[in-house]
Every structure is written in C-alpha cells, then in structure tokens.
Assembly symmetry: C2
Homo-oligomer: 330 residues x 2
C-alpha cells in the first residue's frame, strides 16, 4: 500500500507554520518534499498561492518568496497557504514539462495517487491543499521567448456567478491586463479542478522574456493588491507602473486570434504588447534566411485589435504562432 | 579536390549587388549558400557587416536586413558588404554552437578549408570577404537568458593605435554602453583574425532577453550612427533612448568581475543593468527550493561598480555566473 500524500505540520494551529507537502514515492522516483508556508490568523478568507507549476516560469516562485517575507507583518485575518514550487523537477531542468515522465503538470489535474510523479504531485495538491482554500492564485508567466504584459487571467466559466466573481478577483490584482482567455486545451488544468469545487481561481501570467528586478516589483505589487482586495491585508491598492503607464484593462482573446508564420524564417517583431492596431497594420515581418531577393513577408493585423503577445525575434518553422491579438471584454 | 569558397557575383561592379557566399561541401554536409548584399559607391571606407555568428542571437540578422532596406538611398561613398546570417545551421536550431559539429563559429577563426562545416564557414569569410574590408561590424547580442544594455564592445588590443581607433569606432555607435571586455577565452575569435590584419573590428552586444520592436529600433540607430561616423552615410548621429535615458558611457570589465552563485537554487535579480552600486549593495538573492527555513543567500556587490549584466531569474547550479560588474575605462 502506498503512503498517502500529507503535510508535515498542522495548518489548523494558529500563527505561522512551515513544513512540507509530502508527495509519496512511486515506481519512477522517490518521495518529494515540497516546502509549504502557512499563516493562520483565524476567521476570514482562505487562500492558496502556488508557483512553479511550469518549470521555466520562475516569476511565480520568486514572488511567492517575497510575499512570505512580509505576510507575517501584514496579514490581519484568515489563512494563507503558499507553496512556491509545485514542480521542483521541472524547475531544476528549466522545463515546462516534467522531464521524468514528459507530462505538463497543468494538464493532469486532479492527478492520480498511483500515477507517475507529475500525476502524484497534482493528486497531493488536489487532495491535501485544495480543500483548505476558497480562493487559489496559481502564479504562471508566459515563458522566456515571448513578450507579454503582466496579467491576471481566467478561462470562460460556465457558471455566470463564479465567472463574475473570478473576473472581479482577477481585476483586483490591478495589473496592466486582466484577460479572459478562451482556448480549447483546458482538460486537466488546475483551474478546472478548483472551479468544479466552486472556488475562485486566478491564473496570473507574469509577463514574458527574462525575469528582471523591475518586472518582479510589478508582479509582487499585483499579488499585494489582490490580498488587499480579499481583505487579508490592509492598505491601498495601486496600479503599478508598466512601461510608463499606470492603468489596467480587461480584454478577451480566442483561438482565432493567433497569428501564425506564413513560412519558415526569422520573425522580426514590429509591435509591442498592448499596442492598439488597426486592420492591416504591420505586426511583424518574416525573413527568409536563404535569399535576399526572395524578400520578406509582412504579417498584418486581421482586424482592429490590441497586441496581446508577440514572439521574440527567432527562427520559426511555418505555421507557428508569432503573435496573439485581443479586444475589450464585452 | 574540393571547390574553393567563392562569391556568386562580382563585388567590384559599381552599384547594388546581391548573391551568395558559397561555402564548399565537406564530409559532414553539402554546399552552403549564404546570402550577401553589397553596395559599391566607389572610393571611401570599405565596411563588412555580419550577423548570426551565434544562432540564438537574432538581433544581428534583423538589424542587417533593416540596413539593407535603406542603404541604397543613404550610402554616399565607399563599399558596404552585408552578410546577415553567418551560421544558418545554428540559426535554424536556435543554438549558439553549430549542432552538426558542436563548434562555436566565433572560436574557430580563421577556419579550415578541409575542416567541419563551422570551420569551412570561417574559412570562406576569412578568405573571401575579410580582404575586401578595412572595418568589420560583427553583430552579436548577449543571449536570451540575460539582461544586458545595448553595447559596442572590443577586447583589449596589444597595438595601442589600433586599440584607440577601435574604441573610437565603438563609441561612434552612440549606444548606452561602449565596453572594453577583458577575458581569457579569445583564441579563434573573428576579432583576432581581423585585428591581425590591422582592421578595426567592433563586436556589438545588442542587449539580452527577448528580441522586441523597441530594442531593435535602438540597435538599428546604433549601426546608423556608426555608418555616419565612418562617413558612409550623411546625417546627424544621436544617442537612442534606452530606459528613458539618452546617453553613453565607456566601461571596462575583467574576469574577476563575474559574480557567481554560492549554491544551487533559483536566482532572483534585484538590480537592473547600468545601475550604480556601492560595495555591499544587494545584487540578487539565491533561494533554496528544498526548504523555506534554510533561507536564502544574498549576493552583494564586492566593490563600488556598475551592473553590466544580470541573469534572468532561473534555477542555477552552484558556481554559475549570475551577474557581471564593470567600471569606467581608465
């Protein structure tokens, strides 16, 4: 009989707690011990904050450690549980998926106790931590090869009341972008498991590209704003300054908003994220590396929209997504 | 007998020329044809511009294509040869080294006619193109996992006259940073081969991280400034705006200026490039992913200096370079 996933400390004890979430050993690897922080100040909102779901999105763990530093001084009520690194195997390999079993942790929820290591992590989180929270912030980012604005996101949710509460919570981060993201590959996401249990789940997308000091300050401010919005922390929520602006907007994007490379070549981005574009405006250029006279192909905006994400200049194959557009949420 | 490397068109014909530099086939792969642009306006400076030396530094090829677009209108004298992609095999694989033979093109100059493909590329450039130029700009960048300011760089050169002319040329880019970079791994660099022939060679380091539209405009302005400084193009050279500033400074850095990770963990950058720091100032933090109570390790400035480069937040092993510092050139 395999051991059940468990915590090494009691979260119901008042005050500060530190310990581990133990993910049992399996055929593929030994037991994992994931560091967990908890601060129990009695009655009030019950929040779970997770990071490092994808191993090449390190903004989440860093912001989680920053929050842990000042929460003991700042939190006035309720309970906050923080698990900075959900997938240490992915983080150590700087890999989106877990190298050991090739699985994407954010596609195997609610997990399996008798599965491979990625499925066992999901199972431990789903069974041990998720029941202890009413609200979940899973701290993602857009990855190292994209430019993306600091954002709090959700997928569309069938229950209109939960959808409204989720969008309101996401807007509480006061990041430059709140995004309703419609896409077709949502089976097994952490969001879905939490939402089936009626919980408010916000997935942040903390920008893209390198993880730098200026950006981290914006992301930390976003989580602090959300803690204030929940009533866990006192203070004044403020829009952080992103590229000389202090503002937020709520947008939606769909699968048809992906712009793809018309051929193989080097993609040259010509726009920045959150730029407003008119139909036909130049978004980027695709250059052939085989011939100067074969010329280059312009990639243009299919409609009036806002640039949501733009790929880094890089060599791409044909039919690869190089930009995403979005529009104001109706 | 192997075919010799050659051009498919005559660079001495006045006016615009487009064709290929042919790198002969070898045991490891067939013939390569590298697109080449040439604009011959008679007497004057003779410049060679190359990009894509390292396959994951795509700023160079993109800026090279941008220059090719407006040079026919702008160039008033002399000859400019542009080879946007030196290493198409590296570019297609988004790899610093050539996947086929594992070699770093910028460590095999002057190359070998009977060598592996990377050595044959170096040989073709050294024998066919280099003799046609007095000045070379090789457009590099610092790679996707670093923050780095837009810079024109050189290594120290033994000949004081060539050193002075090289630094002056690098300063002619009017980028935020001109850098004299002392390091010990220079054997086989393109610079060395060109400098042995008395040529002025500037290696740009066009920033780090994602390749975005705003940054590309700065790099393009830098090359335009350098063309004006050479007298190839008329116009007014101007410092481009980088992070709200328009200025340039000349710094030097040495091997002892590398700051390394004291343990394995996630590196959190706490400073941005070109920040001035005092001795003991916090540069970054290294976080253990195994334990919250093991705490974190501060990485501090060993002396008053300027932050030259800082690594992206990422999981690092022990003793990995996470930051570089520099100081004003004496």
């Amino acid at each position: 009989m395999s051991k059940a996933p468990h915590l090494t400390f009691d979260l119901d004890t008042p005050g500060l707690g530190r310990g581990h979430l133990v993910v049992p050993a399996g055929a593929d690897c030994g037991e994992l011990s994931l560091p967990v922080f908890s601060l129990n100040k009695g009655e009030g909102p019950r929040l779970l904050v997770t990071g490092g779901n994808h191993g090449n999105e390190l903004e989440g763990p860093i912001v989680a450690w920053r929050i842990i530093k000042w929460l003991p001084e700042a939190q006035t009520c309720g309970r906050v549980i923080v698990l900075p690194v959900l997938n240490p195997l992915g983080v150590q390999a700087w890999s989106r998926n877990t190298p050991l079993d090739g699985l994407n942790l954010n596609r195997v929820f609610p997990g399996r106790a008798d599965g491979s290591v990625t499925q066992r992590i999901a199972d431990a989180v789903s069974r041990v931590l998720l029941p202890m929270a009413d609200t979940v912030f899973d701290l993602h980012s857009f990855g190292p090869t994209w430019d993306f604005p600091p954002a709090a996101t959700t997928h569309p949710i069938a229950d209109p009341d939960l959808m409204a509460r989720t969008v309101r919570m996401a807007e509480g981060f006061k990041l430059p972008l709140t995004l309703v993201w419609q896409h077709n590959d949502t089976a097994g996401m952490f969001d879905i498991t939490a939402q089936h249990q009626g919980k408010v789940f916000v997935c942040t997308e903390f920008g893209g590209g390198t993880v730098g000091a200026d950006s981290l300050a914006i992301y930390e401010a976003g989580v602090r704003n959300a803690l204030i919005a929940l009533g866990l922390v006192e203070g004044k929520a403020e829009y952080p300054t992103f590229r000389q602006q202090r503002s937020g907007q709520t947008l939606e994007t769909r699968p048809s908003d992906e712009l793809k490379s018309p051929a193989a070549g080097i993609f040259e981005p010509r726009r920045s994220v959150l730029d407003e574009v008119k139909q036909g405006d130049l978004i980027g250029i695709l250059h052939s590396i085989d011939s100067l006279s074969a010329g280059s192909i312009d990639i243009r905006a299919p409609e009036a929209s806002i640039v949501l994400a733009i790929a880094s200049g890089a060599h791409v194959e044909v039919n690869k997504v190089v930009a995403l557009i979005a529009r104001p949420l109706k």
